[in-house]
């Protein structure tokens, strides 16, 4: 997945001379997760460079660059560090098109590794996507596999509006099904690991059916897509897993089609529960599919605590939490 993301940068930097990449440690070193490796060497240090440790400055400067006419792709080293840039994203990037009635816009991408599962403790594990879903004018994209990661990142770079692009860091090097005690599997054997070298896009705002099924719909994104599929198979449940891929704008047609077919729905995310994006999904399903539902919508999420370091697997909403929820919606 890292190579796919790196390739998206490479393809787009070659195509668009206005694209610039910057962030903490992204230049000479190529990023702490190597997503921007070799880009500085290839495209020069005025197009790929290190930034001071100042997320507000990174986002603010990226906005200024976008206003000039460049296409900045800024990395926030961990999603947990994005908060100093919050004002610039929420009050500025998301609103500039609106407040200038289209006179200015800020096409830019803010990429950030997110989510837990790597023993990152409280400050390297968070899933803050709901904050961004709540912001007018911001699109939020979360890929779940290498093919989508490249295609979605290229689509984000070409998007006329600011896009927050969260990369589930637990699946950078291989799919993760939530069975943490099992050996790590690399991407190589996964069908979505086949990534074309050249340009292609995966559309923003379109979900994918990650596993077709009839009995229950699981709405998920990022790492949780893999957890959903594996849990369904382990439980012997014919679940349909919808990989949302974009949470704003969310693909409501895909959600409705699936839930109306199965009549049951479980919403799954790693982020904290209260006012998480799952609450929005549950509300949408209730508003639009109520008369098709055979059981109340279940939410399976992280707990409303900070992400604890040593108790990572107690916190993580893996098969042990999803399995019973699936059984519950099927029994109701």
């Amino acid at each position: 997945m890292i190579e796919a993301l790196n390739s998206a940068h490479d393809v787009m930097m070659a195509r668009d001379p206005d694209m610039v990449v910057f962030g903490e440690d992204v230049g000479y070193f190529g990023g702490v997760f190597r997503v921007t490796a070799n880009l500085q060497k290839k495209y020069g240090k005025t197009r790929v460079f290190d930034a001071p440790i100042a997320e507000g400055g990174i986002v603010g400067a990226a906005i200024g660059m976008a206003l000039y006419g460049l296409k900045p792709v800024a990395e926030i080293q961990f999603a947990d560090y994005i908060y100093p840039g919050f004002d610039q994203i929420f009050s500025e990037a998301g609103r500039i098109r609106y407040r200038t009635a289209g006179e200015w816009s800020v096409p830019m991408v803010i990429r950030s590794p997110y989510g837990g599962g790597i023993f990152g403790g409280q400050t390297h594990s968070q899933s803050p996507e709901a904050f961004f879903a709540h912001m007018p004018g911001i699109k939020t994209v979360i890929p779940s596999n290498p093919y989508d990661a490249k295609g979605l990142l290229i689509a984000a770079i070409e998007d006329p509006d600011p896009v927050v692009f969260f990369e589930p860091k637990r699946i950078y090097n291989g799919p993760f099904e939530g069975f943490y005690e099992r050996p790590v599997t690399p991407w190589a054997k996964h069908p979505a690991a086949e990534v074309p070298e050249d340009y292609y896009t995966v559309p923003i705002g379109k979900a994918a059916v990650a596993r077709a099924g009839e009995a229950v719909t699981i709405l998920a994104y990022g790492t949780m897509v893999h957890v959903a599929i594996a849990t369904a198979e382990a439980e012997g449940v014919d679940a349909e897993v919808i990989d949302l891929r974009t949470i704003v704008p969310v693909d409501i047609a895909a959600i409705e089609t699936s839930v109306k077919k199965t009549g049951r729905c479980v919403v799954l995310h790693e982020a904290t529960r209260t006012a998480g994006f799952g609450a929005e999904l549950a509300a949408l399903v209730q508003e639009r599919c109520f008369y098709h539902l055979e059981a109340p919508v279940e939410r399976v999420t992280g707990y409303d605590t900070p992400y604890p370091h040593s108790m990572e697997w107690t916190y993580f909403p893996g098969p042990a939490r999803l399995g019973p929820a699936l059984r519950k919606v099927l029994e109701d």
Binding site: D18, V20, T46, R47, A51, P52, A54, G56, G57, V59, G60, A61, A62, I63, G64, M65, A66, L67, Y68, G69, L70, P72, P84, D87, Q88, S91, E92, I96, R97, Y98, R99, T100, A101, G102, E103, W104, S105, P136, G137, K139, P160, D161, G205, V248, P249, V250, I252
Partner: protein, 422 residues
């Protein structure tokens, strides 16, 4: 570790909370404001190292002396035509402000902010910059638009949020935006424009352009993290940007000491970030022009950013929603030791034999007529009180380039709600 006895003998710690020199009921007191003589500040070559500008951060670059004569190395030696044009623009800002302040009191809009006493800050800078240099202003630099000949009626339509408002009634009055005039949309969230100005300047440098950026911030908002972000980035990448700090002494009711201006100057912050700093008499149009020009020349020569503190005084309240008589002595601005920027430039032109009272009176009358005509024109398109901008479709437009399903649904619901009536 100190012993228990030593500990007992220590004085109790006390917290220092800065206070301004005078409060309501007190006599106006500007005795702590040190005013160096005009012409006394040195003017270094533009390739000076930032550290060498240190002394310039603790003095005041002043050109006009007490007799309104231009003196010293910073005299920009402008031709009378330019001087008259700057005087005209400053006078226009003042007349426009007065008219719009009154329009707010008449209920034609919700809000207005004057720049009384600070007109030189924006107008002289606009004349020192090139027309296509990019400005990232605060809400008190309306002088930039006026100096760049932005139509007054357009400004008024924005203030009225009326049918002619090109921002479609979305922004608080005076939060103008004009791409063509290089005037970036004003944000109500303070300091956000500062790192954006730096980012724009970095982009200009990345592309090998020759245009530079200029940002403005108030003394109060220098305390924001975005100030630190901006000066850090500007210094690190030697961005071609001019970072102006308009120190008008007051952030609503809070004097500049609370922003950290008591024991140092705002200009002095520059040197710590590796940026050249200048502290300038903000009520001296020639000094503002000269400093801006010096900084622009540095930026254009790849010599990096300059931070300019413009030392001035906010003569009026913060906005139409503010009453300064409850936190500072009445009419304090009248005693501001650096005087009035329009009166000083006018006296200078008269001293040169290039202006006189009769011409000034005629100018003011002509500007007044121009403002009234623009107001009449703007009010044809309504005011906030009567005939403001209203269009449900447009309310949902421009959140994104394309309208996603959820906004389309909300728009339809809003239209249905409106159609049902009260």
């Amino acid at each position: 570790m100190t012993s228990k006895t030593e500990r007992r003998n220590r004085p109790a710690l006390s917290l220092h909370v800065p206070e301004p020199d005078a409060r309501p009921g007190d006599a106006v007191d500007f005795s702590r404001v040190v005013i160096p003589a005009a012409g006394s500040a040195a003017r270094p070559d533009i390739n000076v190292s930032p550290a060498e500008t240190h002394p310039l951060c603790y003095t005041l670059v002043r050109v006009l002396d007490d007799e309104a004569k231009a003196v010293g190395p910073w005299d920009p030696r402008l031709d009378p035509e330019t001087l008259r044009r700057m005087l005209r623009d400053m006078a226009m800002v003042r007349i426009f402000d007065e008219r719009m302040f009154r329009a707010q009191r008449q209920g034609k809009t919700s809000f207005y902010m004057k720049s009384l006493g600070e007109e030189a800050v924006a107008v002289a800078a606009a004349h020192a910059l090139d027309r296509d240099d990019m400005c990232f202003p605060t809400y008190r630099q309306q002088g930039l638009l006026i100096a760049r000949d932005y139509p007054l009626a357009e400004m008024m339509c924005q203030i009225y949020s009326n049918k002619g408002d090109k921002l479609k009634g979305r922004q608080l009055p005076i939060m103008y935006s004009d791409r063509e005039k290089g005037f970036f949309s004003i944000s109500g969230n303070l300091a956000t424009q500062y790192p954006q100005a730096v980012g724009w300047a970095m982009a200009s440098a990345i592309k090998g352009d020759s245009r530079i950026a200029a940002g403005w911030i108030g003394d109060g908002a220098t305390a924001e993290g975005d100030f630190h972000n901006a000066v850090t980035f500007a210094g690190v990448y030697r961005a071609p940007v001019i970072l102006n700090v308009v120190n008008n002494q007051w952030a609503i009711s809070t004097f500049c000491g609370i922003a950290g201006g008591d024991l140092t100057t705002f200009a002095a912050r520059a040197v710590g970030y590796g940026i050249a700093g200048l502290r300038v008499d903000g009520n001296d149009a020639l000094a503002v022009y000269a400093a801006t020009r010096w900084a622009a020349d540095r930026a254009r020569s790849n010599l990096g950013p300059t931070l300019i503190e413009l030392f001035t005084y906010r003569v009026e309240g913060h906005s139409t929603s503010d009453d300064p008589s409850v936190y500072r002595p009445l009419n304090a601005g009248a005693s501001w030791p650096l005087g009035d920027p329009i009166a000083r430039l006018k006296a200078h032109l008269i001293g040169l034999g290039e202006w006189d009272e009769a011409r000034h009176k005629a100018l003011e009358e002509a500007l007044g007529a121009e403002v009234r005509a623009a107001q009449k024109e703007a009010e044809k398109q309504g005011t906030l009180g009567s005939g403001h901008y209203e269009d449900v479709d447009s309310m949902f437009a421009d959140v994104f380039a394309d309208l996603p399903w959820h906004l389309a649904e909300q728009r339809d619901a809003a239209k249905a709600e409106k159609a049902r009536g009260k």
